[in-house]
Protein backbone atom coordinates (compact mmCIF):
# COMPACT_ATOMS: atom_id res chain seq x y z
CA UNK A 1 0.00 0.00 0.00
CA UNK A 2 1.21 3.44 -0.89
CA UNK A 3 0.19 6.01 1.74
CA UNK A 4 0.17 8.87 -0.78
CA UNK A 5 -2.11 6.87 -3.05
CA UNK A 6 -4.46 6.10 -0.15
CA UNK A 7 -4.59 9.78 0.75
CA UNK A 8 -5.43 10.68 -2.84
CA UNK A 9 -8.13 8.01 -2.99
CA UNK A 10 -9.67 9.31 0.24
CA UNK A 11 -9.53 12.82 -1.15
CA UNK A 12 -11.30 11.63 -4.32
CA UNK A 13 -14.08 10.02 -2.27
CA UNK A 14 -14.55 12.54 0.54
CA UNK A 15 -17.38 14.69 -0.84
CA UNK A 16 -19.37 11.72 -2.07
CA UNK A 17 -18.87 10.03 1.30
CA UNK A 18 -19.80 13.11 3.30
CA UNK A 19 -22.99 13.71 1.36
CA UNK A 20 -24.14 10.10 1.65
CA UNK A 21 -22.97 9.93 5.26
CA UNK A 22 -25.08 12.92 6.29
CA UNK A 23 -28.05 11.68 4.26
CA UNK A 24 -28.03 8.18 5.75
CA UNK A 25 -27.33 9.31 9.31
CA UNK A 26 -30.11 11.90 9.33
CA UNK A 27 -32.54 9.65 7.49
CA UNK A 28 -32.02 6.70 9.85
CA UNK A 29 -32.43 8.86 12.93
CA UNK A 30 -35.55 10.51 11.49
CA UNK A 31 -37.01 7.22 10.31
CA UNK A 32 -36.73 5.77 13.82
CA UNK A 33 -38.35 8.88 15.27
CA UNK A 34 -41.23 8.49 12.78
CA UNK A 35 -41.96 5.13 14.44
CA UNK A 36 -43.11 7.09 17.49
CA UNK A 37 -45.66 9.05 15.49
CA UNK A 38 -47.91 6.06 14.85
CA UNK A 39 -48.93 4.04 17.85
CA UNK A 40 -48.66 0.31 17.52
CA UNK A 41 -52.41 -0.42 17.55
CA UNK A 42 -52.97 2.02 14.70
CA UNK A 43 -49.98 0.72 12.76
CA UNK A 44 -51.25 -2.82 13.26
CA UNK A 45 -54.67 -1.88 11.99
CA UNK A 46 -53.23 -0.20 8.88
CA UNK A 47 -50.91 -3.08 8.09
CA UNK A 48 -53.62 -5.63 8.70
CA UNK A 49 -55.64 -4.25 5.78
CA UNK A 50 -52.85 -5.00 3.31
CA UNK A 51 -51.34 -8.10 4.83
CA UNK A 52 -53.42 -10.59 2.86
CA UNK A 53 -52.39 -9.11 -0.48
CA UNK A 54 -48.84 -8.06 0.29
CA UNK A 55 -47.84 -10.20 3.27
CA UNK A 56 -45.79 -12.54 1.07
CA UNK A 57 -43.43 -9.65 0.29
CA UNK A 58 -42.47 -9.45 3.94
CA UNK A 59 -39.54 -11.58 5.06
CA UNK A 60 -40.85 -11.60 8.65
CA UNK A 61 -44.07 -12.52 10.38
CA UNK A 62 -46.88 -10.04 10.95
CA UNK A 63 -46.40 -10.08 14.71
CA UNK A 64 -42.71 -9.22 14.38
CA UNK A 65 -43.33 -6.56 11.75
CA UNK A 66 -45.72 -4.64 14.02
CA UNK A 67 -43.40 -4.93 17.03
CA UNK A 68 -41.03 -2.07 17.75
CA UNK A 69 -37.91 -4.05 16.72
CA UNK A 70 -39.68 -4.95 13.48
CA UNK A 71 -40.76 -1.38 12.82
CA UNK A 72 -37.27 -0.02 13.51
CA UNK A 73 -35.79 -2.75 11.30
CA UNK A 74 -37.87 -1.45 8.40
CA UNK A 75 -35.48 1.51 8.32
CA UNK A 76 -32.77 -0.72 6.85
CA UNK A 77 -35.09 -1.90 4.10
CA UNK A 78 -36.07 1.64 3.09
CA UNK A 79 -35.17 2.49 -0.52
CA UNK A 80 -33.17 5.54 0.60
CA UNK A 81 -30.87 3.36 2.70
CA UNK A 82 -30.53 0.45 0.25
CA UNK A 83 -30.18 2.68 -2.81
CA UNK A 84 -27.97 5.13 -0.92
CA UNK A 85 -25.44 2.41 -0.14
CA UNK A 86 -25.83 1.03 -3.67
CA UNK A 87 -25.28 4.39 -5.37
CA UNK A 88 -22.15 4.96 -3.29
CA UNK A 89 -20.91 1.49 -4.26
CA UNK A 90 -21.66 1.97 -7.96
CA UNK A 91 -20.15 5.46 -8.00
CA UNK A 92 -16.97 4.26 -6.35
CA UNK A 93 -16.73 0.96 -8.20
CA UNK A 94 -17.20 2.58 -11.59
CA UNK A 95 -14.43 5.03 -10.72
CA UNK A 96 -11.87 2.26 -10.22
CA UNK A 97 -10.58 1.99 -13.81
CA UNK A 98 -12.96 3.31 -16.46
CA UNK A 99 -13.46 6.53 -14.47
CA UNK A 100 -9.84 7.74 -14.48
CA UNK A 101 -9.35 6.17 -17.91
CA UNK A 102 -12.28 8.20 -19.23
CA UNK A 103 -10.97 11.39 -17.64
CA UNK A 104 -7.43 10.63 -18.82
CA UNK A 105 -5.93 10.83 -15.32
CA UNK A 106 -5.02 7.14 -15.17
CA UNK A 107 -2.19 7.66 -17.65
CA UNK A 108 -0.22 10.08 -15.46
CA UNK A 109 -0.92 7.95 -12.39
CA UNK A 110 0.26 4.68 -13.91
CA UNK A 111 3.29 6.36 -15.46
CA UNK A 112 4.58 6.33 -11.88
CA UNK A 113 6.16 3.15 -10.49
CA UNK A 114 2.85 1.82 -9.17
CA UNK A 115 1.42 -1.52 -10.16
CA UNK A 116 -2.08 -1.68 -11.54
CA UNK A 117 -3.11 -4.08 -8.79
CA UNK A 118 -1.80 -1.61 -6.21
CA UNK A 119 -3.87 1.18 -7.74
CA UNK A 120 -6.97 -1.03 -7.81
CA UNK A 121 -6.61 -2.42 -4.29
CA UNK A 122 -6.07 1.05 -2.84
CA UNK A 123 -9.25 2.28 -4.49
CA UNK A 124 -11.12 -0.85 -3.38
CA UNK A 125 -9.85 -0.52 0.20
CA UNK A 126 -11.10 3.06 0.46
CA UNK A 127 -14.44 2.06 -1.08
CA UNK A 128 -14.83 -0.84 1.35
CA UNK A 129 -13.88 1.30 4.33
CA UNK A 130 -16.32 3.97 3.13
CA UNK A 131 -19.11 1.40 2.78
CA UNK A 132 -18.42 0.14 6.30
CA UNK A 133 -18.44 3.68 7.70
CA UNK A 134 -21.70 4.51 5.92
CA UNK A 135 -23.26 1.41 7.46
CA UNK A 136 -21.90 2.46 10.84
CA UNK A 137 -23.51 5.86 10.35
CA UNK A 138 -26.82 4.14 9.60
CA UNK A 139 -26.50 2.19 12.82
CA UNK A 140 -25.45 5.29 14.76
CA UNK A 141 -28.40 7.24 13.39
CA UNK A 142 -30.80 4.46 14.38
CA UNK A 143 -29.16 4.04 17.77
CA UNK A 144 -29.46 7.74 18.56
CA UNK A 145 -33.03 7.63 17.30
CA UNK A 146 -33.75 4.72 19.61
CA UNK A 147 -32.04 6.54 22.48
CA UNK A 148 -33.91 9.81 22.11
CA UNK A 149 -37.34 8.64 20.93
CA UNK A 150 -40.22 8.07 23.28
CA UNK A 151 -43.08 5.78 22.32
CA UNK A 152 -46.43 4.98 23.80
CA UNK A 153 -47.06 1.43 24.89
CA UNK A 154 -49.94 -0.31 26.58
CA UNK A 155 -49.36 -0.55 30.33
CA UNK A 156 -48.30 -3.90 31.61
CA UNK A 157 -51.16 -5.93 32.90
CA UNK A 158 -51.40 -5.78 36.69
CA UNK A 159 -54.20 -8.24 37.45
CA UNK A 160 -55.44 -9.36 40.80
CA UNK A 161 -54.03 -12.72 41.75
CA UNK A 162 -56.28 -14.76 43.93
CA UNK A 163 -54.37 -16.24 46.80
CA UNK A 164 -54.05 -20.04 46.98
CA UNK A 165 -55.82 -20.49 43.62
CA UNK A 166 -53.05 -18.94 41.49
CA UNK A 167 -55.60 -17.30 39.20
CA UNK A 168 -55.18 -13.80 37.83
CA UNK A 169 -58.23 -11.66 37.33
CA UNK A 170 -58.35 -8.43 35.33
CA UNK A 171 -58.00 -5.36 37.48
CA UNK A 172 -60.98 -3.13 36.79
CA UNK A 173 -59.24 -0.22 38.52
CA UNK A 174 -56.13 -0.27 36.33
CA UNK A 175 -55.51 2.73 34.08
CA UNK A 176 -55.51 1.50 30.43
CA UNK A 177 -54.11 4.69 28.98
CA UNK A 178 -50.86 4.05 27.05
CA UNK A 179 -47.74 5.03 28.90
CA UNK A 180 -44.72 6.76 27.44
CA UNK A 181 -41.47 4.83 27.56
CA UNK A 182 -38.13 5.32 25.86
CA UNK A 183 -37.85 3.33 22.63
CA UNK A 184 -34.63 1.93 24.04
CA UNK A 185 -36.82 -0.07 26.45
CA UNK A 186 -38.34 -1.85 23.46
CA UNK A 187 -35.43 -2.07 21.02
CA UNK A 188 -31.82 -2.90 21.74
CA UNK A 189 -29.53 -1.14 19.20
CA UNK A 190 -27.18 -4.11 19.39
CA UNK A 191 -29.89 -6.24 17.77
CA UNK A 192 -29.51 -4.15 14.60
CA UNK A 193 -25.80 -4.87 14.16
CA UNK A 194 -26.17 -8.13 12.15
CA UNK A 195 -28.68 -6.41 9.85
CA UNK A 196 -26.29 -3.51 9.29
CA UNK A 197 -23.59 -6.05 8.46
CA UNK A 198 -25.94 -7.52 5.86
CA UNK A 199 -26.31 -4.05 4.36
CA UNK A 200 -22.51 -3.69 4.28
CA UNK A 201 -22.17 -7.07 2.55
CA UNK A 202 -24.60 -5.87 -0.14
CA UNK A 203 -22.57 -2.65 -0.59
CA UNK A 204 -19.34 -4.65 -0.90
CA UNK A 205 -20.98 -6.96 -3.44
CA UNK A 206 -22.29 -4.09 -5.62
CA UNK A 207 -18.96 -2.21 -5.40
CA UNK A 208 -17.12 -5.38 -6.47
CA UNK A 209 -19.39 -5.93 -9.46
CA UNK A 210 -19.12 -2.27 -10.49
CA UNK A 211 -15.33 -2.53 -10.23
CA UNK A 212 -15.39 -5.64 -12.41
CA UNK A 213 -17.28 -3.85 -15.18
CA UNK A 214 -15.06 -0.80 -14.75
CA UNK A 215 -11.91 -2.89 -15.10
CA UNK A 216 -12.57 -3.77 -18.75
CA UNK A 217 -14.53 -0.73 -19.81
CA UNK A 218 -13.23 2.54 -21.17
CA UNK A 219 -16.07 4.94 -20.38
CA UNK A 220 -17.44 5.53 -16.93
CA UNK A 221 -20.92 6.46 -18.18
CA UNK A 222 -21.14 3.06 -19.85
CA UNK A 223 -19.93 1.28 -16.71
CA UNK A 224 -22.61 3.03 -14.66
CA UNK A 225 -25.20 2.19 -17.29
CA UNK A 226 -24.30 -1.50 -17.39
CA UNK A 227 -24.14 -1.99 -13.63
CA UNK A 228 -27.29 0.09 -12.99
CA UNK A 229 -29.18 -1.93 -15.59
CA UNK A 230 -27.99 -5.17 -14.01
CA UNK A 231 -28.93 -3.86 -10.55
CA UNK A 232 -32.46 -2.99 -11.65
CA UNK A 233 -32.94 -6.36 -13.36
CA UNK A 234 -31.75 -8.17 -10.21
CA UNK A 235 -34.10 -6.06 -8.08
CA UNK A 236 -37.05 -6.88 -10.34
CA UNK A 237 -36.18 -10.58 -10.26
CA UNK A 238 -36.40 -10.50 -6.47
CA UNK A 239 -39.80 -8.78 -6.56
CA UNK A 240 -41.09 -11.28 -9.11
CA UNK A 241 -39.69 -14.18 -7.08
CA UNK A 242 -41.47 -12.92 -3.98
CA UNK A 243 -44.75 -12.25 -5.72
CA UNK A 244 -45.81 -15.90 -6.04
CA UNK A 245 -44.87 -19.24 -4.56
CA UNK A 246 -44.49 -20.72 -8.05
CA UNK A 247 -41.76 -18.19 -8.88
CA UNK A 248 -39.58 -18.94 -5.86
CA UNK A 249 -37.10 -20.72 -8.14
CA UNK A 250 -35.97 -17.25 -9.30
CA UNK A 251 -34.55 -16.41 -5.90
CA UNK A 252 -31.06 -17.89 -6.51
CA UNK A 253 -30.78 -15.76 -9.65
CA UNK A 254 -30.58 -12.49 -7.77
CA UNK A 255 -28.08 -11.31 -5.19
CA UNK A 256 -30.92 -9.35 -3.56
CA UNK A 257 -32.15 -12.68 -2.15
CA UNK A 258 -29.25 -12.42 0.29
CA UNK A 259 -30.23 -8.92 1.40
CA UNK A 260 -32.75 -9.33 4.21
CA UNK A 261 -31.98 -6.85 7.01
CA UNK A 262 -35.47 -7.19 8.51
CA UNK A 263 -35.07 -10.96 8.71
CA UNK A 264 -31.66 -10.49 10.35
CA UNK A 265 -33.27 -8.36 13.07
CA UNK A 266 -36.03 -10.95 13.45
CA UNK A 267 -33.51 -13.76 13.94
CA UNK A 268 -31.44 -11.66 16.35
CA UNK A 269 -34.47 -10.73 18.46
CA UNK A 270 -36.53 -13.90 18.28
CA UNK A 271 -33.86 -16.58 17.96
CA UNK A 272 -30.61 -15.01 19.08
CA UNK A 273 -28.80 -18.36 19.16
CA UNK A 274 -29.16 -18.48 15.34
CA UNK A 275 -27.78 -14.99 14.69
CA UNK A 276 -24.44 -16.21 13.32
CA UNK A 277 -25.58 -19.59 12.00
CA UNK A 278 -24.84 -20.73 8.45
CA UNK A 279 -27.91 -22.94 8.14
CA UNK A 280 -31.30 -23.25 9.81
CA UNK A 281 -32.43 -26.77 10.68
CA UNK A 282 -35.83 -28.30 11.37
CA UNK A 283 -36.62 -30.51 14.33
CA UNK A 284 -35.24 -33.55 12.47
CA UNK A 285 -31.89 -31.89 11.92
CA UNK A 286 -32.52 -31.31 8.21
CA UNK A 287 -31.41 -28.05 6.62
CA UNK A 288 -34.46 -25.96 5.81
CA UNK A 289 -32.78 -22.77 4.66
CA UNK A 290 -29.58 -20.76 4.74
CA UNK A 291 -28.70 -18.93 7.93
CA UNK A 292 -27.76 -15.26 8.27
CA UNK A 293 -24.02 -15.93 7.94
CA UNK A 294 -24.60 -17.73 4.63
CA UNK A 295 -26.46 -14.68 3.34
CA UNK A 296 -23.53 -12.44 4.20
CA UNK A 297 -20.97 -14.92 2.89
CA UNK A 298 -22.85 -15.10 -0.42
CA UNK A 299 -22.74 -11.34 -0.86
CA UNK A 300 -19.15 -11.01 0.34
CA UNK A 301 -18.14 -13.95 -1.89
CA UNK A 302 -19.68 -12.39 -5.01
CA UNK A 303 -17.95 -9.11 -4.16
CA UNK A 304 -14.59 -10.74 -3.52
CA UNK A 305 -14.70 -12.84 -6.71
CA UNK A 306 -15.64 -9.71 -8.66
CA UNK A 307 -12.71 -7.79 -7.18
CA UNK A 308 -10.29 -10.64 -7.99
CA UNK A 309 -11.58 -10.89 -11.56
CA UNK A 310 -11.31 -7.10 -11.88
CA UNK A 311 -7.67 -7.19 -10.73
CA UNK A 312 -6.87 -9.93 -13.24
CA UNK A 313 -8.56 -8.14 -16.14
CA UNK A 314 -6.99 -4.79 -15.26
CA UNK A 315 -3.56 -6.38 -14.92
CA UNK A 316 -3.78 -7.94 -18.38
CA UNK A 317 -5.53 -5.30 -20.44
CA UNK A 318 -4.02 -2.64 -22.68
CA UNK A 319 -4.46 0.93 -21.54
CA UNK A 320 -5.62 3.02 -24.49
CA UNK A 321 -4.44 6.60 -24.89
CA UNK A 322 -6.93 9.20 -23.64
CA UNK A 323 -9.27 10.57 -26.26
Amino acid sequence: MNFVLIRKSISDAKWLFLSFGVLLFVFCWTRVWVVSLIETPRFTAILDQFWEQFGHFSPVSFSHLVSYPGRVALTLAEPIVVFGISIWAIARGSDAVSGPLDRGTLEMLLAQPLSRVQALTTQAAVTTAGTALLCCLCWLGMSLGIQYTVVKVAPESAGLVLPFLDVELPNPFQDHQPVKVPLSNEVNPASLVPAVMNLFAMGFCVAGMATLVSSWDRYRWRTIGIISGFYIVEFLVKIVAMSAESLQWLRPLTFFSALEPQWFVYITVEEPELTWSFFLFDDNGQIVEMGPSSYNLTLLGIGLISYLAAALIFHRRDLPAPL
Binding site: N2, V4, L5, K8, S11, D12, R103, G104, T105, E107, M108, L110, A111, Q112, P113, L114, S115, R316, D318, L319, A321, P322
Partner: protein
Protein backbone atom coordinates in the same frame (compact mmCIF):
# COMPACT_ATOMS: atom_id res chain seq x y z
CA UNK B 1 21.97 0.85 -24.44
CA UNK B 2 19.40 2.29 -22.05
CA UNK B 3 16.41 1.59 -24.27
CA UNK B 4 16.22 -1.26 -26.68
CA UNK B 5 13.44 -2.69 -28.82
CA UNK B 6 13.74 -5.88 -30.80
CA UNK B 7 11.16 -6.75 -33.48
CA UNK B 8 8.57 -4.96 -31.37
CA UNK B 9 5.11 -5.36 -32.85
CA UNK B 10 1.66 -4.32 -31.70
CA UNK B 11 -1.45 -5.42 -33.54
CA UNK B 12 -5.12 -4.72 -32.83
CA UNK B 13 -6.92 -7.40 -34.78
CA UNK B 14 -5.97 -6.87 -38.40
CA UNK B 15 -4.58 -3.38 -37.74
CA UNK B 16 -0.86 -3.15 -37.10
CA UNK B 17 -0.02 -0.13 -34.97
CA UNK B 18 3.69 -0.93 -34.73
CA UNK B 19 5.43 -3.33 -37.04
CA UNK B 20 8.69 -5.09 -36.29
CA UNK B 21 10.39 -2.09 -34.69
CA UNK B 22 14.03 -2.53 -33.75
CA UNK B 23 15.98 0.39 -32.36
CA UNK B 24 18.05 1.41 -29.39
CA UNK B 25 18.79 4.56 -27.43
CA UNK B 26 22.12 5.19 -25.76
CA UNK B 27 22.45 6.74 -22.29
CA UNK B 28 22.63 10.53 -22.43
CA UNK B 29 21.12 10.67 -25.90
CA UNK B 30 18.19 12.80 -27.02
CA UNK B 31 16.27 10.53 -29.33
CA UNK B 32 13.52 11.86 -31.56
CA UNK B 33 10.46 10.11 -32.95
CA UNK B 34 8.99 11.68 -36.04
CA UNK B 35 5.94 10.76 -38.03
CA UNK B 36 2.39 11.84 -38.79
CA UNK B 37 -0.61 10.87 -36.67
CA UNK B 38 -1.04 7.11 -36.59
CA UNK B 39 2.57 6.41 -37.52
CA UNK B 40 3.15 4.46 -34.29
CA UNK B 41 5.10 6.96 -32.15
CA UNK B 42 2.73 6.88 -29.19
CA UNK B 43 2.29 3.10 -29.49
CA UNK B 44 6.05 2.66 -29.21
CA UNK B 45 6.24 4.91 -26.15
CA UNK B 46 3.25 3.21 -24.49
CA UNK B 47 4.86 -0.18 -25.05
CA UNK B 48 7.98 1.09 -23.27
CA UNK B 49 5.85 2.26 -20.35
CA UNK B 50 4.09 -1.10 -20.09
CA UNK B 51 0.69 0.44 -20.87
CA UNK B 52 0.37 -1.92 -23.84
CA UNK B 53 1.36 -5.57 -24.13
CA UNK B 54 3.41 -6.32 -27.27
CA UNK B 55 1.99 -8.77 -29.78
CA UNK B 56 5.53 -9.81 -30.65
CA UNK B 57 9.04 -8.75 -29.82
CA UNK B 58 10.71 -7.29 -26.79
CA UNK B 59 11.26 -3.85 -25.33
CA UNK B 60 13.70 -3.21 -22.50
CA UNK B 61 14.73 -0.21 -20.44
CA UNK B 62 18.00 -0.57 -18.60
CA UNK B 63 17.87 -4.27 -19.46
CA UNK B 64 14.46 -4.76 -17.83
CA UNK B 65 11.56 -6.20 -19.80
CA UNK B 66 8.94 -3.45 -20.18
CA UNK B 67 6.07 -5.90 -20.41
CA UNK B 68 6.98 -8.23 -17.54
CA UNK B 69 8.43 -5.76 -15.02
CA UNK B 70 6.76 -2.52 -15.89
CA UNK B 71 6.89 -1.13 -12.33
CA UNK B 72 10.68 -1.45 -12.22
CA UNK B 73 10.86 0.08 -15.69
CA UNK B 74 8.66 3.03 -14.72
CA UNK B 75 10.82 3.75 -11.69
CA UNK B 76 13.45 4.70 -14.28
CA UNK B 77 11.12 6.80 -16.41
CA UNK B 78 9.50 10.21 -16.11
CA UNK B 79 6.70 10.44 -18.65
CA UNK B 80 4.88 13.41 -20.07
CA UNK B 81 1.99 12.90 -22.49
CA UNK B 82 1.02 15.52 -25.05
CA UNK B 83 -2.27 16.26 -23.33
CA UNK B 84 -1.56 15.71 -19.66
CA UNK B 85 -4.81 15.14 -17.74
CA UNK B 86 -4.50 15.85 -14.05
CA UNK B 87 -6.99 15.45 -11.21
CA UNK B 88 -9.25 18.47 -11.58
CA UNK B 89 -10.16 18.70 -7.89
CA UNK B 90 -6.53 19.21 -6.88
CA UNK B 91 -4.68 22.49 -6.65
CA UNK B 92 -1.50 22.91 -8.67
CA UNK B 93 0.60 22.71 -5.51
CA UNK B 94 -1.10 19.47 -4.47
CA UNK B 95 -0.51 17.93 -7.89
CA UNK B 96 3.22 18.60 -7.64
CA UNK B 97 3.27 17.33 -4.06
CA UNK B 98 1.46 14.15 -5.10
CA UNK B 99 3.84 13.32 -7.94
CA UNK B 100 6.87 14.16 -5.81
CA UNK B 101 5.72 11.97 -2.93
CA UNK B 102 4.20 9.02 -4.76
CA UNK B 103 7.65 7.87 -5.91
CA UNK B 104 11.13 7.91 -4.45
CA UNK B 105 12.51 9.69 -7.52
CA UNK B 106 10.32 12.75 -6.90
CA UNK B 107 11.82 16.11 -5.93
CA UNK B 108 9.28 18.63 -4.67
CA UNK B 109 11.77 21.50 -4.34
CA UNK B 110 12.84 21.08 -7.96
CA UNK B 111 9.19 20.85 -9.05
CA UNK B 112 8.40 24.17 -7.34
CA UNK B 113 11.47 25.74 -8.96
CA UNK B 114 10.37 24.67 -12.45
CA UNK B 115 6.81 25.80 -11.74
CA UNK B 116 8.21 29.16 -10.67
CA UNK B 117 10.22 29.43 -13.90
CA UNK B 118 7.07 28.65 -15.86
CA UNK B 119 5.18 31.34 -13.89
CA UNK B 120 2.54 28.90 -12.73
CA UNK B 121 -0.10 29.85 -10.19
CA UNK B 122 0.01 26.82 -7.93
CA UNK B 123 -2.86 28.02 -5.76
CA UNK B 124 -5.27 27.47 -8.63
CA UNK B 125 -7.34 24.32 -8.99
CA UNK B 126 -6.51 22.21 -12.04
CA UNK B 127 -10.15 22.46 -13.11
CA UNK B 128 -9.73 26.22 -13.60
CA UNK B 129 -6.44 26.02 -15.47
CA UNK B 130 -6.18 26.38 -19.25
CA UNK B 131 -4.85 23.47 -21.30
CA UNK B 132 -1.48 25.18 -21.56
CA UNK B 133 -1.31 25.79 -17.82
CA UNK B 134 -2.11 22.15 -17.12
CA UNK B 135 0.61 21.10 -19.51
CA UNK B 136 3.06 23.41 -17.72
CA UNK B 137 2.07 21.83 -14.41
CA UNK B 138 2.70 18.38 -15.84
CA UNK B 139 6.04 19.62 -17.20
CA UNK B 140 7.09 20.75 -13.72
CA UNK B 141 6.07 17.39 -12.26
CA UNK B 142 7.85 15.39 -14.96
CA UNK B 143 11.10 17.31 -15.23
CA UNK B 144 11.56 17.38 -11.46
CA UNK B 145 11.89 13.59 -11.25
CA UNK B 146 15.35 12.15 -10.84
CA UNK B 147 15.04 9.40 -13.41
CA UNK B 148 17.60 8.36 -16.02
CA UNK B 149 15.02 8.40 -18.83
CA UNK B 150 12.51 11.06 -19.84
CA UNK B 151 9.78 10.10 -22.29
CA UNK B 152 8.04 13.10 -23.78
CA UNK B 153 5.15 12.38 -26.13
CA UNK B 154 4.47 15.55 -28.11
CA UNK B 155 5.08 17.65 -25.02
CA UNK B 156 4.74 21.01 -26.75
CA UNK B 157 1.48 20.26 -28.55
CA UNK B 158 -0.61 22.64 -26.46
CA UNK B 159 1.96 25.25 -25.60
CA UNK B 160 2.62 28.78 -26.75
CA UNK B 161 5.99 29.55 -28.43
CA UNK B 162 7.54 30.94 -25.23
CA UNK B 163 6.83 27.83 -23.23
CA UNK B 164 7.89 25.63 -26.15
CA UNK B 165 11.26 27.28 -25.92
CA UNK B 166 11.32 26.61 -22.16
CA UNK B 167 10.59 22.94 -22.80
CA UNK B 168 13.52 22.72 -25.18
CA UNK B 169 15.71 24.38 -22.54
CA UNK B 170 14.56 21.83 -19.99
CA UNK B 171 15.42 19.03 -22.41
CA UNK B 172 18.86 20.59 -22.94
CA UNK B 173 19.33 20.79 -19.17
CA UNK B 174 18.30 17.16 -18.77
CA UNK B 175 20.82 16.17 -21.40
CA UNK B 176 23.51 18.16 -19.59
CA UNK B 177 22.67 16.19 -16.44
CA UNK B 178 23.31 12.98 -18.39
CA UNK B 179 19.68 11.99 -18.72
CA UNK B 180 18.33 10.20 -21.76
CA UNK B 181 15.35 11.76 -23.49
CA UNK B 182 12.91 10.22 -25.95
CA UNK B 183 11.01 12.99 -27.64
CA UNK B 184 8.16 12.59 -30.09
CA UNK B 185 6.92 15.59 -31.99
CA UNK B 186 5.33 16.85 -35.18
CA UNK B 187 7.45 19.97 -35.11
CA UNK B 188 10.54 19.37 -37.25
CA UNK B 189 12.41 22.40 -35.96
CA UNK B 190 12.15 21.16 -32.37
CA UNK B 191 13.47 17.74 -33.28
CA UNK B 192 16.20 19.29 -35.37
CA UNK B 193 17.23 21.57 -32.52
CA UNK B 194 17.48 19.12 -29.67
CA UNK B 195 17.82 15.56 -30.93
CA UNK B 196 21.00 13.57 -31.44
CA UNK B 197 19.25 10.91 -33.49
CA UNK B 198 15.83 10.71 -35.04
CA UNK B 199 13.74 7.83 -36.29
CA UNK B 200 11.02 8.39 -38.83
CA UNK B 201 7.97 6.18 -38.56
CA UNK B 202 5.42 5.50 -41.27
CA UNK B 203 2.34 3.32 -40.87
CA UNK B 204 3.82 1.59 -37.84
CA UNK B 205 7.16 0.90 -39.45
CA UNK B 206 10.49 2.44 -38.59
CA UNK B 207 11.58 3.61 -42.05
CA UNK B 208 14.62 5.75 -41.38
CA UNK B 209 17.20 6.45 -38.71
CA UNK B 210 18.96 9.79 -39.00
CA UNK B 211 22.01 10.89 -37.05
CA UNK B 212 21.51 14.64 -36.70
CA UNK B 213 25.23 15.45 -36.69
CA UNK B 214 25.49 13.87 -40.15
CA UNK B 215 22.46 15.76 -41.36
CA UNK B 216 23.89 19.06 -40.17
CA UNK B 217 26.97 18.50 -42.38
CA UNK B 218 24.84 18.01 -45.49
CA UNK B 219 24.17 21.05 -47.66
CA UNK B 220 22.28 22.04 -50.74
CA UNK B 221 23.92 24.63 -53.05
CA UNK B 222 21.75 26.36 -55.63
CA UNK B 223 23.15 28.67 -58.31
CA UNK B 224 22.69 29.88 -61.88
CA UNK B 225 25.19 28.38 -64.29
CA UNK B 226 26.40 30.73 -67.05
CA UNK B 227 28.40 28.24 -69.07
CA UNK B 228 28.79 24.53 -69.58
CA UNK B 229 29.40 22.52 -66.43
CA UNK B 230 33.00 21.34 -66.22
CA UNK B 231 33.81 17.84 -65.06
CA UNK B 232 34.02 17.24 -61.30
CA UNK B 233 37.61 16.67 -60.17
CA UNK B 234 38.34 13.06 -59.29
CA UNK B 235 39.08 13.80 -55.63
CA UNK B 236 35.63 15.46 -55.22
CA UNK B 237 33.49 12.93 -57.10
CA UNK B 238 32.44 11.18 -53.92
CA UNK B 239 31.82 14.44 -52.02
CA UNK B 240 29.32 16.10 -54.32
CA UNK B 241 26.49 15.35 -56.70
CA UNK B 242 24.54 17.75 -58.86
CA UNK B 243 21.54 18.00 -61.07
CA UNK B 244 20.51 20.60 -63.63
CA UNK B 245 17.29 22.48 -62.99
CA UNK B 246 15.15 24.59 -65.29
CA UNK B 247 16.23 28.12 -66.33
CA UNK B 248 19.93 27.29 -66.21
CA UNK B 249 19.91 26.59 -62.51
CA UNK B 250 21.99 23.86 -60.96
CA UNK B 251 21.68 22.21 -57.56
CA UNK B 252 24.61 20.57 -55.80
CA UNK B 253 24.24 18.14 -52.93
CA UNK B 254 27.02 17.78 -50.44
CA UNK B 255 26.66 14.81 -48.09
CA UNK B 256 29.68 15.75 -45.98
CA UNK B 257 32.13 18.50 -45.14
CA UNK B 258 31.52 21.64 -47.20
CA UNK B 259 34.86 23.42 -46.82
CA UNK B 260 36.76 21.14 -49.21
CA UNK B 261 34.23 21.92 -51.97
CA UNK B 262 34.16 25.69 -51.67
CA UNK B 263 37.50 26.16 -53.45
CA UNK B 264 36.35 24.23 -56.53
CA UNK B 265 32.92 25.88 -56.53
CA UNK B 266 34.55 29.32 -56.60
CA UNK B 267 36.21 28.45 -59.91
CA UNK B 268 32.89 27.63 -61.60
CA UNK B 269 30.93 30.14 -63.69
CA UNK B 270 28.19 30.46 -61.06
CA UNK B 271 26.03 33.37 -59.99
CA UNK B 272 23.32 33.94 -57.37
CA UNK B 273 24.69 31.07 -55.29
CA UNK B 274 22.86 30.08 -52.10
CA UNK B 275 24.05 27.51 -49.60
CA UNK B 276 21.59 25.95 -47.19
CA UNK B 277 21.64 22.94 -44.92
CA UNK B 278 19.63 19.97 -46.16
CA UNK B 279 17.43 20.02 -43.06
CA UNK B 280 15.18 17.41 -41.58
CA UNK B 281 12.27 18.38 -43.79
CA UNK B 282 13.99 17.07 -46.90
CA UNK B 283 14.62 13.76 -45.18
CA UNK B 284 11.11 13.65 -43.76
CA UNK B 285 9.54 14.42 -47.13
CA UNK B 286 11.29 11.45 -48.67
CA UNK B 287 9.11 9.23 -46.51
CA UNK B 288 6.03 11.34 -45.96
CA UNK B 289 5.76 13.36 -49.11
CA UNK B 290 1.96 13.18 -49.22
CA UNK B 291 1.48 13.86 -45.54
CA UNK B 292 4.02 16.66 -45.31
CA UNK B 293 1.24 19.20 -45.03
CA UNK B 294 0.27 17.66 -41.70
CA UNK B 295 3.62 18.44 -40.22
CA UNK B 296 4.15 21.82 -38.71
CA UNK B 297 6.42 23.95 -40.78
CA UNK B 298 9.54 25.08 -38.93
Amino acid sequence: MLVSTNNLTKRYGSFTALDDCTCSVAPGEVFGLLGPNGAGKTTLLRLLLGFLKPTEGLATVDGIDCSQKSVAVRSRIAYLPGDARLVRQMKGRDVLRFFAQVRREGDLRRAFEIADDLELDLAQYVAFMSTGMRQKLALAATFSMNTPLLILDEPTANLDPTVRSTVLQLVHAAKQEGKTVMFSSHVLSEIEEICDRVVILRAGQLVHLQVMAELKRQHRIRARLHAAMPAVPDDLVNLISFEHQENGEIEFHSPGELTVLLGWLSTLPLAEMTVSPIGLRAIYDQFHHHSAAETANP
